[in-house]
Subunit: 173 residues, 2 copies
Amino acid sequence: MQKTIYRVAAALTIDGKIALNSRQFTNWSSSEDKLIFRKMLDESDVIISGHNTYKVSKRFLDRRNCIVFTRSVKDTLRYKKTILFCNPKNVDVQRLIQRLDYRAVTIIGGAPTFSYFLDKDLLDELHLTIEPIIFGRGILLFQDVKIDVVNLKLTKAKKLNKKGSLYLVYKKI
Amino acid sequence: MQKTIYRVAAALTIDGKIALNSRQFTNWSSSEDKLIFRKMLDESDVIISGHNTYKVSKRFLDRRNCIVFTRSVKDTLRYKKTILFCNPKNVDVQRLIQRLDYRAVTIIGGAPTFSYFLDKDLLDELHLTIEPIIFGRGILLFQDVKIDVVNLKLTKAKKLNKKGSLYLVYKKI
């Protein structure tokens, strides 16, 4: 059986922030990052996002298979043909993804959703674009994670433009 | 008059942490990062650190010119021949550095000390090593900064070893 691959896709500031606040769409990242991000979504069987991220990204998520994490449903609820609402507190998410036969899973945030998969030790790959910008405050990639320190390996590093947006791929070792 | 250059030197995790807690020495970074860090210190006229960072790094700081930020003195106090205690709340740090004729200033943390210089818009260069590790919690590079978003330019990116520790230099634009 082919293994399911769980990938994080995120744009980060130099100081490790994904947004200034939880309602901010990632409109601050470079056009080169946005191209890579869209390509990753195109190559995914399913996209997983939190409810806030879904709300600010609806426009380009609604045509894609999505699982949206939310506490507003008990377990799972088919919201649209492509959109499945899911309460990760009451659902075995890994089993759900297996049952739906999804192989390429891309997690697009926000912090609680990224942290959920890190805490379950499910992350196989991190695809990060580090933009040459400092927020100095805001939302982190991960928050309040209980898991031990995780060691990864950098498998790709590519400078995307003149100002130095960096596309980095890390894989589990 | 030659301009004073203010440089940050720090090792970061993928998720933007500089330590698991404020008493942790940067013993988790790669040997390649440590070499770069020592070289930067050797090329500095003065090193600036917070009191916690000073306490955990004493061993290799005591032979170097240091300004140690602390609230335990009123303004400045010569603690040892090379070590000057300084309360940044009551001292014009930029003027002090000018007066002492320091040109190459390296700031080694922790977060409140990095944030002080970011808030004053004094940072010219960031020398960061991103280690392929996730802490998921811990101390950030910057905290509670009031300044607006800061745009920088990546001027150097070098892979330091097989696992992919990345040495990055960002400069103010």
